[in-house]
Symmetry: C2
DNA sequence: TTCCTTATTGATAACGATTCTCAATTTCAT
DNA sequence: ATGAAATTGAGAATCGTTATCAATAAGGAA
């Protein structure tokens, strides 16, 4: 038998004394389904309301907090006053953010992986994710 | 005569139709004085209240928004629900953030400067700042 | 100067994201 | 089954930030 992503997540939760309840499973599914998006707690709540209107917004926040602490999701902030979340196992990527119009361009970079290894050793950190933001002015706002 | 940092900031403001009012000057002074800190709007408001209790919190927010848009300060968010600001002309640095205890370790890195140049050309971005955050678990929280 | 237009301000209300409270329910280990 | 602990939903509370608005200050033209 194979180990699914959900199985792995269940183990990770249970190893830390948490239970994978039906509500938490629905929330994880939403995050996995929208892997390429940056979802806010409210985005997830809205998605779930369609088929699972019984799940409350507080549960969404509580679950995301657990997933974040366990490194299952990355919490991203874009200076807009809302936290956004992405499944952390997806390909790493970074952002160019325009200070004027707020436009965000994503990009990937391999050099950062190496840098990460170096810093992990230097500071005795177990690194599970990273996020580079470059600030500036896009071609239209210069 | 020499050009002070405040002169440069005044020019930058006036070039964009903003005035360097006494209130704004006090706020800029506070940011310059605490160059090595990450100050929240409320931190600045508290500092100013000692000698300038007439300055309102709304003015602090409005001024920081202008300074941010002009790239004079960097706006940083550490997933704590508060925006923090630092004088952008200070030496660039980055952060290792512990997902468990929230501990933040600063570090500098030269390779990122080169990467920045490359991306600026590729996406026609005028880059004025950057911020790399690495997430993980510190030595005590692993 | 004086006038006029515009920018800026402080106080406070409003907003919105997130967290807290708490009683009810579910889960797990025994 | 049973008891302890974890989890839940609803709504209240909190808190950072933004919007409103009348009053004030600043800069340019005459």
């Amino acid at each position: 038998m194979e180990t699914t992503e959900m199985d792995q997540i269940r183990s990770r939760l249970e190893d830390h004394g948490y239970r994978l309840t039906p509500q938490r499973m629905r929330i994880v599914e939403a995050v996995l389904a929208e892997e390429d998006k940056h979802l806010s707690a409210d985005d997830i709540y809205t998605i779930l309301r369609e088929n699972h209107p019984e799940i409350g917004i507080a549960t969404v926040y509580r679950t995301l907090e657990i997933l974040r602490e366990l490194g299952i999701v990355n919490q991203l902030t874009f200076e807009e006053g809302v936290s956004r979340y992405e499944y952390s196992a997806r390909e790493h990527h970074h952002h160019l953010v325009c200070l004027k119009c707020g436009k965000v361009i994503e990009f990937s970079n391999d050099e950062l992986e190496r840098l990460e290894q170096k810093l992990a050793r230097k500071y005795d950190f177990q690194i599970v994710g990273h996020h580079l933001k470059l600030y500036g002015y896009c071609s239209l706002c210069q």
